[in-house]
Symmetry: C2
């Protein structure tokens, strides 16, 4: 993945949570929010946002950068809330203590709330001369996050007695991938419809990989507890399809994501990103068994 995009993401997140912006915050809240966002994981969603923006010409890079930060802030917020004792009760995330493990559940809950608000605020602040784009991006981000079918909706399916796995995963993971791609297109002044499928397929691939990781992974590799889905009785594709079936579905879905990239100047860059993401998705212990299509192996 291009170091340039990573640099832009780091700089944008640093701006979003600068000391100046957080001045006057309760100190524990400010620390908790930074703990949730830095040093961070693969930054896959903001990479997708910037890659899509670049494929669309990226004529308002300040807005694309804000979009990248916004999707990552939302992603981090969802992790903080998911890790809380009333949900996963996870003490480790990305190989470090979770926010509530360090700051307690009260500050963790508020940090998640604050990150959600901050994402929308940072988008609005960065609108510049593109208020119409920023409004459309706000709506796309909200669709990826909220009711009925964003990641909050997805998480809430876990509290229902009857769940359709596909709908659940589409919301819980896919919705923010879709939003990441849409925000990239919108930031560059393009209609998001043509790009949506890339996000949808990548989101599905990510969820399959997460299901595999949960069943096959070791805690130290995953940087978080494994076996949670089985323990908590949550839908998991491996239970439904078996390891081999889930791996095949993953390979097929990655190919679908590649195929969905519209013809455009930055097509190659976006496909390289899809492949790089795919290469990281397969749990180490499953590698000998994987049959990834040749085109996705590069």
């Amino acid at each position: 993945m291009s170091p340039t995009l990573h640099d832009r993401i780091d700089a944008s997140l640093a701006r979003a949570l600068s000391a100046q912006r957080l001045a006057g915050s309760p100190p524990h809240l400010a620390s908790a929010v930074r703990h949730a966002v830095f040093p961070g994981g693969g930054r896959v969603r903001p990479l997708l946002t910037l890659s899509t923006a670049r494929a669309c010409g990226d004529d308002a890079p300040g807005l694309s950068d804000a979009a990248a930060a916004a999707v990552e802030l939302i992603h981090c917020a969802s992790l903080v809330h998911d890790d809380l004792p009333i949900f996963d009760d996870a003490l480790q995330r990305r190989g470090r203590p979770t926010v509530h493990a360090v700051f307690g559940p009260q500050v963790a809950l508020l940090a998640g709330d604050a990150l959600i608000v901050h994402a929308f605020d940072f988008l609005a602040e960065s609108a510049g001369g593109h208020a119409d784009r920023a409004i459309a991006m706000t709506r796309a981000l909200a669709a990826g996050v909220g009711m009925p079918s964003g990641i909050i909706g997805g998480q809430a399916w876990e509290c229902e007695p009857r769940v359709d796995r596909a709908a659940y995963h589409r919301a819980k993971t896919g919705a923010l991938f879709r939003a990441s791609v849409e925000l990239g297109a919108l930031a560059a002044g393009h209609a998001p419809a043509a790009w949506r499928a890339v996000g949808d397929h990548l989101g599905a691939a990510y969820q399959l990989a997460d299901d595999l990781q949960d069943v096959l992974g070791r805690g130290e590799e995953a940087g978080k507890p494994v076996g949670q889905d089985l323990r908590l009785g949550r839908p998991n594709a491996v239970v439904e399809l078996g390891v081999g079936g889930a791996l095949q579905a993953l390979a097929r879905t990655v190919q679908d994501a590649e195929d969905a990239v519209p013809a455009c100047g930055g097509r190659d860059g976006l496909i390289r990103l899809v492949r790089a993401i795919a290469a990281r998705l397969v749990p180490d212990r499953a590698l000998p068994e994987v049959r990834v299509p040749a085109s996705a192996a590069g």
Copy 2:
């Protein structure tokens, strides 16, 4: 208070949480969100938004209505999260079971998250031909809600070892009152600066009344548990100033709010609203002792 404004608020909230908009949500999440918002309390913040918009000419009533709904959705979200077992552990609110008492803490946490997102989404959806206004409103709303000095920041001061009561209350209660007034002005195309002080003083009055209620109130009057501040060791003006001192401060602050209303066509309407709010603020048991200034008693 004008029934017309109440009608507008009810209609706007009904639109924001219509069956059509929530279609496809996990059923418990959708029910929890509605439980949090309907039938609702005094709707003081959205009344303030619409009264301010009207005083400013209200030339984009669709946007004012959306702003009114947005501040109320945020207020309801904050109540849902504050009532959670890890905070107040309150089982009653507005005389009914709290969201977590009915739906459990998981759905309650997600309902609060979803309401926050929904508030920003509804503002953006209602931008119409006023994208610039909607962007400014998004920023004003975020300032009232998030870091460093919105209601989330205020709540997070409760998790700090050292707290300045004024800063804590300004954020915890005042920030959303300020935002309510600012959004009303912005929705009508006016600069918010001249209106800010009205929200600040009313927010301070509200917090003083809440402190009095917590010390003097009966549970059945308050519709929620009383004595929480003392039990949880939280700052309370009555502890600092005594009942008489707190009541005097309340009367003074209501007068300050009136005096702060700028000269404008709708000035009288807004002052009537301030007085109506003030009349509801004083706990019944304190009434014989109150010395409200004559101008605020009408």
